[in-house]
Assembly symmetry: C2
Homo-oligomer: 418 residues x 2
């Protein structure tokens, strides 16, 4: 048991309701595209709530929004806690908002109790984590981690035709109360609370997921080239059927990769065939492979195995195969000290917990490249997210926020001595 401050669960749940009303959908979800009107309204409300408690409000050139609660030694690098406020077009009310508003609850709880921390703690709300309006996602944290904007970012056009550069400028201008801040900068540690977006915690009845890292993701584009031919007149020996080869390759991969390794994920989510007529043997099939694993070496090994198998199965079927990477994000391993701090925080409150890897991207992936980072997961019903039916029970919300509070306090003390 711990004697740390207890967060106000009721206040946090009310805040979640208030933010869920901004861009609320009839089906109970949220539609709050990054840098749009609703996102600006959510940012304005967050800044207003922070300012009302005396926290300093900043935004950087990527429109990442910070609420700072000063520490005893205010020159120390801050402990950052937060997540994001933007949502998928038919998103849920907890994805991003939970971590951001729980961070506000942490700052307010400390303020309520008059607790003086050794160094500053800052809430951060990252810009455009979802990437559904402007691709790619995790824009704000990537720019923060890189200390610079990616080349050509001004030309990015959104799914609604809006220019990223215009919407970013308008979003910054919409919050004149926030002070400007340089991109990036040192931090003592970063802790993000988020819903799991998977079924593990719920299935095991665990309240807290102690996240050890984020899987690496590699996207491969496989093209099988065969020969267009007549479905009726072409006997088996003359068929160079790209679809038969693609199916055999996918079947072989599904039968081996995931059954052999519980940490591996392999998904074929997109497939097109040419010419695509019922009575014509396909001459070309192109499909995507989404490959994930906590170990980059294992992703390399799996890719090599896919390349080998594709060539072998294609040759057997009279076809040719090519495999090309279309995206590659290395896995992130979180900081062992911070992982331990999160785990101890859950244990001290007697909250059931388990360690796990995140299968989804988060802003923490990019922060982990820059400094100590960790994440806390709470269960979501049925593992469902990116869905208006996304749901987290009130006691799970408070358990997550309490763990974040305890871990942030421990981090600000422990990492300060580092």
């Amino acid at each position: 048991m711990t004697d740390g401050p207890v967060i106000d669960g009721r206040r946090l749940l009310a805040r979640l309701d208030a933010f869920a009303a901004i861009g609320a959908t009839p089906a109970g979800g949220v539609n709050r595209p990054a840098l749009g009107d609703k996102d600006r309204a959510a940012r304005a409300l967050l800044a207003e709530l922070g300012a009302a408690r005396g926290f300093s409000v900043f935004q950087d050139a990527a429109a990442n929004l910070f609420l700072r609660r000063a520490g005893a030694d205010d020159l120390r690098p801050p402990v950052l806690i937060g997540s994001h406020l933007d949502s998928q077009p038919t998103g849920g009310r907890f994805d991003g908002a939970l971590g951001t508003l729980a961070a506000l609850e942490v700052l307010e709880t400390l303020e309520d109790r008059g607790i003086v921390t050794a160094g500053p703690i800052e809430l951060v709300a990252w810009t455009n984590e979802e990437g559904s309006r402007f691709s790619p996602g995790a824009f704000g944290s990537q720019v923060y981690a890189a200390g610079a904007f990616p080349a050509g970012w001004q030309d990015t056009v959104g799914s609604d035709g809006a220019r990223l550069a215009d919407e970013l400028a308008a979003t910054l201008a919409a919050l004149p109360a926030a002070s400007e801040r340089l991109l990036g900068g040192p931090f003592a540690g970063y802790i993000e609370l988020h819903i799991e977006q998977g079924p593990l915690l719920e299935r095991e009845g665990a309240l807290i997921g102690v996240v050890e890292g984020i899987q690496g993701t590699r996207w491969l584009e496989v093209v099988i080239e065969g020969q267009v031919a007549h479905a009726g007149t072409t006997p088996l020996a003359d068929r160079r059927d790209a679809m038969a080869v693609a199916a055999a390759l996918i079947t072989q991969l599904q039968a081996t990769v995931m059954p052999a390794d519980a940490d591996a994920r392999l998904t074929v989510g997109r497939l097109t065939l040419t010419p695509g007529a019922v009575n014509v043997i396909p001459g070309e099939v192109a499909f995507s492979i989404d490959l994930r694993h906590p170990s980059n070496a294992e992703i390399d090994r799996l890719e090599a195995e896919i390349v080998r198998l594709a060539a072998e199965i294609a040759t057997r079927g009279g076809c040719r195969a090519s495999v090309r990477r279309s995206m590659d994000i290395a896995p992130a391993r979180f900081d062992e000290r911070l992982i331990g701090i999160v785990e101890q925080a859950a244990k001290r409150r007697g909250l059931s917990n388990r360690r796990l890897f995140s299968g989804a991207f988060h802003d923490a992936l990019f922060m982990a490249r820059l400094g100590p980072a960790a994440m806390i997961f709470v269960p979501c019903r049925g593992g469902l997210s990116h869905n208006e039916a996304e749901h987290v029970e009130p006691h799970q919300v408070t358990a997550g926020a309490q763990t974040l509070c305890d871990a942030a306090l421990e981090a600000v003390a422990a990492l300060a001595t580092a």
Copy 2:
């Protein structure tokens, strides 16, 4: 050896050149859509060539075009020989035209020699065999065989937006020299010369394919329903991956159906998955199966096996499967006497030959439902058709036309005594 008349190969090749010029494409192919200007020009040329030799010219309400050479007893039902003049948009110069112009060569050869046949022989050029402008194909022969137009045919709109009814009326009006004839009517036999559109004859070095029948074709639409889920966060045990199930089913079918039975053909030519994002496990996959076999009972058995396997593999993968027929054309068995007549005709000229089944549809399929029918195949280079590179060697053209001539003469004598 035979003492029958020898056809004029040079004249036939020149005719093939003349008709290939109507709708010629830069790549050496033919674009002569059914009932369009080019098709009308080809019909007009054929009618003019026939009239010049004294043959009667008729067309029925489906614009099937007939050239009639009278017999000694002109009240006997005719032996019909012919094929079609329309082409695929990027079609070859032999598909259809070969059988039609070889039939003209037969009539002219008989006329040149003053040969009197026991009954009449008629050339027929069927309307819209290809079906690429107006679907379905084999329109003229189906209407002839049924003796009536299908319900709702007037509403058929072509790939270019034209109405079938308008184009049919305009085509009929464009050939005022042709006498009107009632739909259908008795015939003693039907023999169609066509390119094989497959590789068997070329591979075995056979000049003449003695066609025993046309495979039945059944189209199935398979739908696998799974569950949309996150590619990264969903472990194997929770996946209800419709694409993994579809691939396993296709692989199982490819590994069993054709290897077990050289007469079977199974093709997956169309596949769509939903939602179709790289990082989302597909919740639904729909794909087509084109299933062909000379035996309808075997097609029934294979369909039942597909339904059983789909359910079994879907259940194993946590999905549901449904299988629905979208088209069903029963196989045709040609007339044993006519098959024998074609085979003997090839043998008497010393032309290498083999029996085979047609994997493609032909007008003969529908004629076989009405009376004695048979087909003669000649090789085409690489088995290629529906392609501007379609090619038949001159000696193969003459071998086919000679066999048609001999078989037609034998048929008009033999079937008359029936």
